[in-house]
């Protein structure tokens, strides 16, 4: 009955079982937050830290995060690494291919504003937020696995507060 504890519900015992009442919003948000499948999208150095986070010591899976190789199965895109001007249209395309609801975490200085490549670089996109909308920013160059995980937990909190009506308008 883990779900019952985590989602505000009304329960009442009736003959032959229990009556459970809750809002659809709660159930959907719970499901979305706890199984965020991320797209395996690593372009540069941050991707190595993303790999480490997914590997033995840090074990990303325990947050319910499993990598997917195709955008069509992914809920989340973790932009691990520099996005160059040549890559930017491809990133947009990948984002467009993801099914809604979809979330974006900008990992590392590069994706926030160009990071170490802000000055004197002719080919780096200065921040991905003018290509795709970003939900969470994780600073660092590269961010440690711990801060990456913290960012993901923040995203889960954001998801838990979503309203169904947010999606209707879109």
């Amino acid at each position: 009955m883990g779900l019952i504890k985590k989602v505000p519900v009304y329960t009442e015992n009736i003959p032959g079982g229990a009556l459970v009442a809750t809002s659809l919003e709660q159930v959907l948000n719970f499901g979305r937050a706890k199984s965020l499948w991320y797209l395996l999208f690593g372009t540069a150095c941050c991707a190595i830290e993303l790999m480490c986070t997914g590997a033995s010591r840090y074990d990303f899976d325990r947050l319910g995060m499993i990598y997917r190789a195709t955008p069509r199965q992914a809920d989340l895109i973790l932009t691990a690494g520099t996005i160059t001007k040549k890559m930017a249209p491809r990133l947009r395309k990948l984002y467009d291919q993801m099914a809604e609801p979809r979330y974006v975490i900008a990992m590392g200085g590069c994706t926030i504003n160009g990071g170490p490549f802000y000055y004197d670089s002719y080919s780096v996109e200065k921040g991905i937020d003018h290509i795709i909308p970003v939900d969470i920013y994780i600073p660092g160059c590269p961010p440690r696995p711990e801060s990456l995980m913290e960012g993901c937990i923040h995203l889960q909190e954001v998801i838990r507060k979503q309203k169904l009506s947010d999606w209707q308008e879109k």
Binding site: K85, K86, Y119, D120, Y122, S123, K126
Partner: protein, 156 residues
């Protein structure tokens, strides 16, 4: 060959074709004339004493006064190494492609062509390598290059 032996060997065998430059104080740096490049390079590769079979690196340099193409070559059997360069002016710089001698030069030349605007003669494939397909802002590695969204680091 040790470095001094190599220097002496080149001096006696490439008279007038490879001139020692002043910039190569630490490691000898030679200049080769652009129209003599392929012949000298072939000789460097095929000479039984030299056997320079490995192109380590090549690339353009913009010194603010002229353009240069540097070549770093090595020998995997004789274990020595050599640097040389071709000096070019700013108007219509061009060098012969060195792919027939060292095929590994292919991508280096493509890179040079787009980043420095140094034309490569007789190269079979000069598609852009690193820059986006729709790049129209010129040759970004030139020192005087500028673009609207290019931010220079402020002097500290």
């Amino acid at each position: 060959m040790t470095r001094d032996e190599l220097k002496a060997y080149i001096e006696s065998n490439f008279v007038g074709r490879m001139t020692l430059l002043e910039s190569g104080k630490v490691e000898p740096m030679y200049e080769i004339k652009a129209d003599d490049l392929i012949e000298v390079a072939t000789k460097l590769r095929d000479d039984l004493e030299l056997k320079f079979d490995f192109l380590c690196n090549m690339g353009g340099v913009d010194t603010r006064e002229r353009l240069e193409v540097i070549y770093n070559i090595a020998s995997t059997s004789k274990l020595h190494r050599l640097d040389f360069k071709v000096i070019l002016g700013y108007d219509s710089p061009a060098v012969e492609s060195i792919c027939p001698v060292w095929p590994g030069a292919n991508w280096y030349e493509r890179e040079m062509y787009e980043l420095y605007g140094i034309d490569i003669l007789n190269h079979n494939d000069l598609r852009p390598l690193l820059l986006p397909e729709d790049w129209d802002q010129g040759h970004p590695m030139r020192k005087d290059w500028d673009a609207p969204d290019f931010v220079r680091m402020p002097e500290l």
